[in-house]
């Protein structure tokens, strides 16, 4: 009951840090989506780039997160503010599921349907936006879902470089050796991840059942 007591006593700060957390993870996922989805599309068009780009995103994922935050500190403009740094690092981590799922989703569209579209005289752009992307949307949303959950989890570490978010409680709790303070950060972060996962899962199922009725 100590934990609930702590939460209600500090609810102002809990809400503040939760919002900050959502902001960090949300902006990072958005940036990653704006970069990752086009990259995923690009490598379906130029398959020779796919190894390089997926490999690169893979390598980024293997860098320990704290180290990645550290590597980015010297970057101009980005390094000036902890939150910018954190968002960039999180976005880099989210690239892999977005690139990979976009690529796999488009490659997974029934080749007969794509060929029918091409044979009917659709341009490349029309084929992409009217056939391939809608039919791949379920798989792409699955990638976004992974990216969102990943960035909500990793954003807790952003507090280590002073970027705020629910990680503040976790690091403070660690320093104070206080479970209730750690939980005040960990539980809302976990709930956020679960909620995002659930909502995007609903969207994903809807898209899949809608497009893939056949």
């Amino acid at each position: 009951m100590n934990f609930l007591h702590f939460m209600s006593a500090n609810r102002q700060q809990v809400i503040e840090l939760t919002l900050e957390h959502i902001q960090l993870a949300g902006i990072a996922t958005l940036i990653a989506a704006f970069v990752g989805i086009p990259l995923g599309i690009l490598i379906t068009r130029i398959p020779s780039l796919s190894k390089l780009i997926i490999g690169g995103a893979n390598v980024i994922q293997t860098i320990p997160s704290l180290a990645l935050f550290g590597f980015l500190i010297p970057a101009p403009w980005i390094g000036e503010r902890a939150s910018r740094l954190a968002i960039l690092a999180l976005a880099l981590y989210c690239l892999l599921p977005l690139i990979r799922n976009t690529y796999a989703g488009i490659r997974g569209v029934d080749p007969a349907v794509v060929e029918a579209g091409r044979a009917m005289g659709l341009t490349d752009r029309q084929l992409l936006f009217q056939v391939e992307l809608p039919l791949a949307s379920g798989v792409i949303v699955a990638g976004i879902r992974l990216a969102v959950v990943l960035s909500i989890g990793l954003a807790t570490i952003a507090a280590a470089i002073g970027a705020g978010g629910l990680g503040e409680f976790i690091f403070r709790g660690l320093a104070m050796v206080s479970n209730q303070v750690i939980l005040a950060g960990a539980i809302p972060a976990a709930l956020l991840a679960l909620a995002a996962d659930f909502l995007l899962g609903l969207l994903e199922r809807r898209l899949n059942s809608f497009w893939l009725k056949a």
Partner: protein, 279 residues
């Protein structure tokens, strides 16, 4: 891709109206002039020459792998000949804007090849829509085509997965006809249908073609279908043309491969003797 000026677009031929106008220009709708095609060094088609006129139905008959589908893809520029020339309305496919070329050729494939995320209406209206027709004109065209292929207009708002195989195939035909292309190519179009629906579709298609007078290339491995639909039959084997004959002559030809085909299809439908005896 910049739109290029073509002397003969699908709309123009459509507004020219009758087939006799189009044939009077002298060029066949489709001409293969000593065409060869190979993929990774494997020859798929060798030295094929043929011509299809407006109002004529040419059936490409042959086994799987005989080069029939390759031939179709050379017609609409999905493939380009390695040697020789394919001419559509007198112009080599190499000189066509591929997008314009394909929009002037209706394409029907097995099971319709419909877009699963589009309703029947959107599937049929796709080419008119990307050609920039206005909404009332598209709607009218879709209704007319549904009637033409014998479908109830209530089906317009359904998705392909909510249709029977025969209905999907009819939508496929309607979609291919949407922008009134002068040429129609069909790849095993009716092969996935049950025998009764298939026979219905064949008869309806023949009646439709007698009215439309398009240049039609129909690919099949079924001799009966070929004899029913064709003006001319080209029998293919291993990427080569074996014979090219009017349908009546084909049914009498003494060419060994043609006879082999006829024999394979001429057996009356009954239980095989071996099986009957064992019972």
């Amino acid at each position: 891709m910049p739109p290029t000026q073509m002397p003969l677009t699908s709309n123009e031929t459509a507004s020219n109206g009758s087939a006799s106008n189009a044939t009077s220009s002298g060029a066949s709708a489709i001409e293969f002039d000593r065409v060869s095609f190979s993929l990774n060094g494997h020859p798929l088609l060798e030295n094929l020459s043929l011509a299809v006129n407006h109002g004529e139905t040419l059936v490409l008959l042959g086994r799987s792998g005989s080069g029939k589908t390759t031939t179709l893809k050379l017609v609409n520029g999905l493939l380009m000949p390695v040697e020789g020339e394919v001419r559509i309305s007198g112009r080599s496919t190499a000189n066509w804007d591929p997008i314009r070329l394909r929009r002037s050729i209706g394409y029907v494939i097995q099971d319709g090849g419909l877009f699963p995320h589009f309703t029947v209406e959107r599937n049929i209206g796709l080419v008119p829509r990307i050609e920039g027709w206005d909404r009332p004109r598209i709607d009218a065209r879709v209704r007319a085509l549904l009637a033409l292929v014998g479908l109830n207009s209530e089906l317009a708002s359904r998705y392909p997965s909510e249709l029977s195989g025969g209905q999907r195939q009819r939508v496929g035909v309607a979609r291919a006809l949407a922008a009134d292309p002068p040429i129609l190519i069909l790849d095993e179009a009716f092969s996935a249908l049950d025998p009764i629906t298939r026979s219905e579709m064949q008869k309806e298609f023949r009646a439709l073609q007698q009215r439309m007078r398009k240049a039609v290339v129909f690919v099949t491995h079924d001799l009966r279908e070929a004899l029913l639909l064709a003006d001319r039959i080209v029998l293919m084997e291993s990427g080569r043309k074996v014979v090219n004959l009017p349908a009546e002559e084909f049914s009498r030809s003494e060419h060994p491969l043609v006879r082999a085909y006829r024999e394979a299809f001429s057996a009356p439908i009954e239980m095989p003797t071996e099986k009957r005896e064992s019972q």
